[in-house]
């Protein structure tokens, strides 16, 4: 045993802090975990969504393709329509996300204020090449995301998005 005797005051302060802390933790832990739930929830990769775009009609020039799917937002279910920029690169179909990697505005192909053969974001004049690569010296810090694509009965299916693999 050490020579430092624990005083009555110290003993009481340690036990009261310990027991009080335990009780407070027991009370707060469920509530904090409850609040943190959205951060810790696992998200499944999305399914492929069938669009009305015929594969045969896709050309080298990017076109806007809308795709609608049922989005489950906690207790609220709704049909949400998203967009992809789709074009053919040789035989490969490329579908790019229209969400600008600067601050999330929607980019446009050959926008009236932008350049020929480029994606342009009207919010802060961010520019991307055709394959989604961000052009140095403009605000975006990375290339546009890419959607996985599939074909079904001659029509285009759009899947979950992934980081750009073309740049």
């Amino acid at each position: 045993m050490s020579n430092n005797r624990v005083s009555r005051r110290q003993f009481l302060s340690y036990t009261l802090t310990g027991v009080g802390g335990f009780m407070a933790a027991g009370m707060l832990m469920p509530m904090v975990r409850f609040a943190l739930d959205p951060v810790l929830q696992k998200h499944e990769g999305g399914d492929f969504v069938l669009t009305e775009q015929k594969i045969a009609d896709i050309t080298e020039a990017p076109i806007k393709v809308d795709f609608t799917f049922e989005q489950v937002d906690a207790w609220y279910k709704a049909d949400v329509t998203n967009t992809a920029w789709v074009y053919k690169d040789g035989d490969v179909i490329v579908a790019l996300s229209p969400v600008c990697k600067h601050l999330g505005c929607m980019v446009d192909w050959e926008h009236k204020d932008g350049n020929k053969n480029e994606f342009f974001c009207p919010c802060h004049a961010g520019r991307y090449t055709k394959n989604g690569g961000n052009i140095a010296g403009t605000p975006p810090l990375g290339p546009l995301d890419e959607f996985e694509v599939q074909e079904k009965d001659g029509y285009l299916m759009i899947g979950p998005s992934k980081p750009n693999t073309l740049v």
Binding site: M27, L28, P30, M31, R33, F34, A35, L36, D37, L40, A74, W75, Y76
Partner: protein
Amino acid sequence: MLNKIYDWVDERLDITPIWRDIADHEVPEHVNPAHHFSAFVYCFGGLTFFITVIQILSGMFLTMYYVPDVENAWKSVYYLQNEVAFGEIVRGMHHWGASLVIVMMFLHTLRVFFTGSYKKPRELNWMVGVGIFGVMIGLGFTGYLLPWDMKALFATKVGIEIAASVPFIGQMIKVLLAGDATIIGAQTLTRFFAIHVFFLPAVLFGLLAAHFIMIRRQGVSGPL
């Protein structure tokens, strides 16, 4: 570490007298269960406050998921209870705590009554306590509607009919509470939500502060 932070702040702001003023007070022998075990009856006021704190905390967390809307209220309650981690616990704390506050408050009132603590000079504190009782009942009544299930709906219909039976102004009270002369619906739910989370808690904080300041100023009543 904590001591050093405390000393650093205390050196600049002299905070010790502030909390000493709040924390240092005599607990007379007749209210200390260590001396007379029967003195545990003096704990009920503190327990009421403790559970009230739990109610405030769990309520704050519940509003992260709850929506006061006829379409989504029940669905959001179902979601937070069944899909969110510890949702059943947090909602359970608020649900059971609500009843427990009433029980503790009732026991506290009995203790004050049978020890005659309401007598001069503490009449005002008794009156404030009755005010707190009313606010707590109001919190229970308005909170009961929020899950928007059948029990909530019909209990509120009955409650509003009781309010409507007040002579002369009954109909006005009814419309003021329900937001509509005939429907218990969208407007009733938003009103009850606003009353439950903003108006009544604000009144409650004021009354609790008055209750505590008075008991500190007057001290606990003497032994029987």
